[in-house]
Amino acid sequence: MSQGSVILKIISLPISIILICLGIMTILGGHITPGGGFQGGAMIASGIILSILVYGLGNSPLELSHTYIEVLESIGALGFVIFGLIGLFVGGFYLYNFGTDLLNVVPAAIQNVFHYPDVTNAGIIPYLNIFVGLKVFVGLSSIVIAFAGFKKIVEETE
C-alpha cells in the first residue's frame, strides 16, 4: 500500500505534524471563527491519513492503537453528554452554557471552574468543540485505518 518515493517519505511526517497543528488551531478557535470541532478534527485526521497512505499501515510513524482510539472516542462522546447533563442539572436545560450563565441561575463557583480562560465570554463552547474534535479525529482516522487494513488482508490472501 505504501508509496515508494523517498521524497514523499521525507516530507510526509513534517506535513502531517503541521496539518495536525492547524487542526488543533481550528478547534481552539471554533467559538469565534469559522470552523470548530468537526473541521479541526477532520484536519487532524487528514494528517494521520497522509502518513498512513505514504508509509503504509504497520510502517507509519503516526499510527493509532486500538486502545487509544477507544479511549479518545469515549472521552469525546462522554464529555459532550456529561457537559450537557451538568447544564441540565444546574441550569434547567440540556447543554445550558453554565460557563457563561446568561440567566444567572448557576452558582459562581461552578461558573468560574468551567469558564474557558480567554478574552471572549464563551463558557463551555470551546470544551464542546474539543470533545467533538477528538471524536471526529479518531472516527475518521479509524475508518481509514480499517480500509487500509482490509486492503492489506485482501492483498495477502490473493
Partner: protein, 83 residues
C-alpha cells in the same frame, strides 16, 4: 498585551495527546532531533504568518498553533516508542 491561557493550555494538552502516538524511527521513516528543530522553525514561520488567530489581541503570532506544535514535539520526546 493580552495573553489568552485557554489556547495555550488546551493546545499543549491536545498536542501532547496526539504527539504521544508518533514514533519517528519506524520502518522507512528516520527522523533525528535536527529534523524536529527544522519542523519547529517552519512551525514558527507558519504561526507568524497565521497572525494572532484565533484571538485578535496580543502578539501577531498564533499561540494555539505554536503550543500545539510544542505539545507534539514534547509528546514525541516523552512517549516515542520503538518497535
Amino acid at each position: 498585551m493580552m495573553l489568552s491561557l485557554g489556547p495555550i493550555i488546551f493546545g499543549l494538552i491536545l498536542g501532547l495527546v496526539i504527539g504521544s502516538q508518533i514514533k519517528p524511527n519506524i520502518g522507512d521513516a528516520k527522523f533525528t532531533l535536527a529534523s524536529f528543530v527544522a519542523i519547529l522553525i517552519a512551525g514558527i514561520i507558519i504561526a507568524w504568518q497565521a497572525g494572532n488567530y484565533p484571538f485578535y489581541t496580543g502578539l501577531p503570532i498564533s499561540f494555539a498553533f505554536l503550543s500545539a506544535l510544542i505539545g507534539i514535539l514534547v509528546g514525541i520526546l516523552l512517549f516515542s516508542r520503538r518497535k
